[in-house]
């Protein structure tokens, strides 16, 4: 690890100010679960760490007047998995409670996963597939981005060095009648080799399939048939060509989520 100074702002605005003051070599630390691994191998070498742990209003889950579910960026997986949610929002808690392992879920945050933007992280598929909106705070205030705007097309994010992710706004509980997430991983604590989210809209809205982990950013399919979805993901831009097992995983997981959604 390279030496760094450790800064503990008390508010989100102060955190943004410190990032500006210390320049692009400064980096935010939320839970540190990805960042510390990168710092140990010196693939990340920040000269200053700006901790968000002391910023209370960045953590926690609440319902907005609009019905949107607002999840603070530093809400840990452990807290999210225990949040008292209703309707399709319960799938958010279920996904948060079934990734990595319990110790990593104690520290790891939803915002950390999204800003790290590991293609195989479950939260990327979840926010993309449900069309969540991402609230980004910078020196000139808040801007709200779609997942397509937040994630850079080739991987990573479009965040500026002095911006932080403040919150994730998931659509209201009545936006979908059912949301089902499925993934395949080699061992329980491994990140997904492929993940699929199937979101069913009310009325004749149909279903929306989103495929994660096989491309740098999740692919939102236009089709809702396993074969056609796999073909679309195959054609999607970015990364090396899909290999056989990935195509089969996409097909199988799509079929699985569709049958769960249709079966109830």
């Amino acid at each position: 690890m390279k030496a760094f100074t450790y800064l503990t702002p008390g508010s989100a605005e102060e955190a943004v100010g410190l990032l500006g003051q210390h320049g692009p070599q400064a980096q935010v630390i939320a839970g540190g679960q990805s960042l510390l691994l990168a710092m140990k191998t010196r693939t990340a070498r920040p000269s200053a760490l700006v901790s968000l742990a002391g910023v209370d209003d960045l953590a926690g889950v609440r319902l907005a007047a609009s019905g949107e579910l607002v999840v603070g960026a530093t809400t840990t997986y452990a807290a999210l998995s225990r949040a008292p949610l209703t309707g399709w929002h319960t799938e958010i808690a279920a996904v948060a409670g079934n990734l990595a392992d319990r110790p990593v879920r104690t520290m790891g945050t939803i915002g950390g996963a999204l800003c790290d933007a590991g293609p195989r992280y479950d939260m990327l598929t979840l926010v993309t597939g449900t069309g969540a909106r991402l609230e980004v705070l910078g020196p000139s205030g808040v801007r709200t981005l779609s997942p397509g705007e937040f994630f850079a097309p080739g991987g990573g994010t479009t965040l500026a060095a002095d911006e932080i992710l403040a919150a994730i706004r998931f659509p209201a509980a009545d936006a979908f009648t059912r949301v089902v997430f499925a993934k395949f991983r080699q061992r329980t604590f491994d990140a997904a080799l492929a993940s699929v989210l199937c979101a069913a809209r009310p009325g004749n809205g149909g279903v929306q399939i989103t495929v994660g982990a096989v491309r740098p950013v999740p692919v939102v399919a236009t089709a809702a048939d396993p074969e056609a979805v796999a073909a679309e993901v195959l054609d999607a831009a970015g990364g090396p060509p899909l290999v056989q097992y990935q195509r089969e995983l996409v097909r199988t997981l799509t079929a699985q989520t569709l049958s769960t959604v249709n079966g109830s």
């Binding site: 030496a3 510390l36 691994l37 319990r102 990593v104 329980t188 604590f189």
Partner: protein, 186 residues
């Protein structure tokens, strides 16, 4: 350098440390408690698991500064076998410190129920993973007192054991759950 105080097993431990110090290093090298093991240093093996304000974490993937002002419970906090930090670790001092239970005039009844269950179910061989396994299970059983074997498997998904093949550890988890329930009813 930064001055940090962390309460370890109820005792405040203060020191000037390099910002890069991991919580694991603080526990072992500053507090002198070597029951918390370093097996991988990359959040994979779980040998370094401790409780931070009652929640389970891998202490190799947390900075000591992230734990400043907070409370840590390590394996040494579970039973009165080893309450005094080691100044200097030698084979001799270790022999004095880790007395067999009977030499302490103690028996399995003095162990934490999870430790006693590991003893009873033969849930360790070399013992390297054991502190982490015990901490992970102790923490999990407080959240779910009536686990299934699969629940136990999921709870220790982040803990690797190279010796036992896990089955006896799962036995011990089930046994400890039963003992803890009996204790709660009494």
């Amino acid at each position: 350098m930064v001055n940090v105080t962390i309460t370890v097993n109820g005792q405040p431990v203060a020191a000037d440390i390099d910002e890069r110090t991991l919580l694991l290093e603080f526990i072992r090298d500053v507090a002198g408690l070597t029951g918390t093991h370093n097996g991988c240093l990359e959040a994979r093996c779980g040998c370094c698991s401790v409780e931070l304000d009652g929640a389970i974490v891998k202490s190799c993937n947390v900075l000591a500064v992230q734990a400043a002002g907070r409370s840590v419970t390590t394996i040494e906090g579970l039973s009165p076998q080893r309450l005094h930090p080691a100044e200097h670790i030698t084979t001799g001092s270790l022999a004095g410190m880790y007395q067999p239970l009977d030499m302490l005039g103690a028996d399995a009844a003095d162990l934490h129920p999870v430790q006693a269950a590991f003893h009873k179910c033969h849930a360790l061989q070399c013992g390297f993973c054991t502190p982490g396994m015990v901490m992970a299970l102790k923490n999990y059983l407080a959240e779910n007192p009536e686990p299934t074997r699969d629940d136990i498997r999921a709870a220790i998904a982040g803990n690797l054991c190279r010796c036992t093949g896990y089955q006896h550890i799962i036995d011990a988890g089930m046994e400890a759950a039963e003992q803890l329930r009996a204790q709660a009813d009494a």
